[in-house]
Every structure is written in C-alpha cells, then in structure tokens.
Symmetry: C2
Subunit: 180 residues, 2 copies
C-alpha cells in the first residue's frame, strides 16, 4: 500500500512560543479528502543520566497541561538549528548541574504522532561530574535521585507517566549491566 | 517545594475535532506570571497484542504530522465518557480483527506533557481470536506481524519511533516469559 496524505490546502490557526497550529485539508489514499489538525513543534531532547554511585537523576516539575507535577528525565526544547546531542548535554547541565563526558543515543520518539510532529531524541549518560544548576527563569524543578531497584518498582507500578522517561528507563533496564 | 501553576486568565484559540487549543496566563511559584500553550485531547488507548503463535500485531499508517508512515501498536482515541479498557478492546478489534479475551493494564503515559494533556492507557493482550477488521472511514492501515526477536532488534536499532509502541514492547520484553 502507498502511504501518503497530500496537503490540498492549509490554514494557519496559531503561531505561538512553543507550538504552531495548522489545519490541513488532505487527500486520502482513496481519493477522498479529510481534515488534519497539526501541532508543529521544533523538537526536543532528553537525557537518562546515571551518577557514579548508580543513581538515576530525575526532575520533578509541574506540568500545566496535566495539572500535576511529573517525575521526568532532564529534557528540553531544541533551539532553532541546534545540534541534538549538544542540546541534550546543555539541558542536563542547566536543569541538574551534572556534566556528562559523553552521551549515547538511545532512540528518537514521537510522543503524539496523531496530531503533533514533536520528535524527541533520548540519550544515555554516565560518568557524570557535578557542577551548578541554572534552569530557565520560568522553570521550577526539584532534583530527585533513585536507585535502579526503585526505578524498576516505580515502572512496575505504573507510577512514572511521562513517555520519554518510561522509554529511557526501560531501555536502561533492558540494556545496561549495573554492577555495584 | 509546592508545585502548582494557577490559571489567572485563559483564551480559547481553537476548538477542533481531535484537539482544542487554549493559552493560559499562569501564576508561577515565585509569584511572577507566564503563558502556557495548552493542547487539550480527550485521551487514548493502545494494545500490545500477542497472537497464539507469539507474533506481535503492529499497524502501519501514514501520520500526517510526521509526514511519514509509522509502525505502531493498535490504538485509538477515547470517545467521550468511554471506559478505557473497553475502548482498547474495541480499537484492537476494529483495526486488526483480533479479539482479546482479557486485557492487562500496563501503564498510562503522557506523550507530550509540556504542551498537551493527552493521556494514553496501554494494555497487553494475548489469547487472541481472529475476526474481521472494520477500521474508521478515514483510516488506512496495514497489519504486520513480527516475532519477539524481530521486535527486540527493531527497538535496539531505534527503528520504532512511536512512544506508546516503544513503551509497550519494552515492557513486554522486560516482563513476559515467551516460551515457544
């Protein structure tokens, strides 16, 4: 099957700081037309970071869309044209103060491919060094450290609800050998 | 730290078929104000389904926001007031023709908590029975079956890019014992 949906016409609804909204009329595979509501986002990066004593670095912050705080791996939006790996190292240091010697790419993910093009790249980092935090002005975050065993239990109970965080931590459990 | 962002005022930008967009002025923890662009969504469900001969059921469909087809576990939007587990069973059967005797809850996830409240519930199903497909009118999907080994390799190479799909399949690799 040839998969494609060609845009016939589009309307720009909103251009914001973080997202733009467009509505496209598209031509479906069967020749009929349909509407697609599209939320455009510049992309993001996140880092699963493991301290020298095998603790995972999570950040707790209030997420207005969810109306509650979530525990997440350090993450942030890409600046225009920014290199993803450099952005990931920058976000880790800004949010947590930890500097990573090197990052390993884990995977890219679309969190909401039904309506948004937000593509987020996940990295893994160990061999961390502690520096100073300097979060963005409107970011209020609390750093929390967890053992691998605590992470495994939180995942098992479904307590972690942020998609990038679940992916990064399950990947770590599947792939890294954590000798203490 | 008390985590909260109280809405001071809000503006409705768009009310669509799948999403609504609002911009809220919020009061931050330090008393200052900031804007939040919020994409409201009614929620969704997805099913990681394993056939009697241990194949994973994935669906390939064109995702307009990403401008490419993605391989995903069967999923769909919640109807207003619909029970999540019933919706998951319904979506599995509509998209793939497979009926599940029972579903096990895996986790809930927010795919894009920075700007959207979309909460998606993931279930696991085995003991499937094959019936007939009847996808929505504007849905064009192709069913593909993969062995557990193929899934593990695709995850390792970062070839699966849909967040709910990665989460569900990693969870399966971590938790289920697949005797052949």
């Amino acid at each position: 099957m040839e998969f494609n949906e060609k845009t016939i016409s589009k309307e720009s609804i909103y251009q914001g700081k973080i997202i733009d909204l467009e509505v496209h009329e598209v031509e479906l595979i069967n020749g009929e037309s349909s509407k697609r509501e599209l939320v455009f986002h510049n992309g993001a990066v996140a880092v699963c970071a493991l301290t020298p004593d095998n603790k995972i670095v999570l950040v707790k912050q209030f997420r207005k869309p969810c109306e509650k705080p979530l525990l997440e791996i350090p993450a942030g939006k890409l600046d225009q044209g920014e290199n993803r790996e450099e952005a990931a190292a920058r976000e880790l240091e800004e949010e947590t103060g930890y500097r990573a010697k090197s990052l390993q790419w884990v995977t890219d993910m679309y969190g909401s491919p039904g309506f948004s093009n937000e593509r987020l790249s996940i990295y893994f980092a160990d061999q961390l060094e502690k520096g100073d935090m300097h979060p963005d002005e409107d970011e209020f975050i609390e750093i929390q450290l967890f053992s691998i065993e605590e992470i495994a239990e939180m995942l098992q109970r479904g307590e972690l609800e942020d998609a990038k965080t679940i992916i990064a931590l399950q990947h770590m459990l599947l792939n890294y050998n954590h000798s203490k």
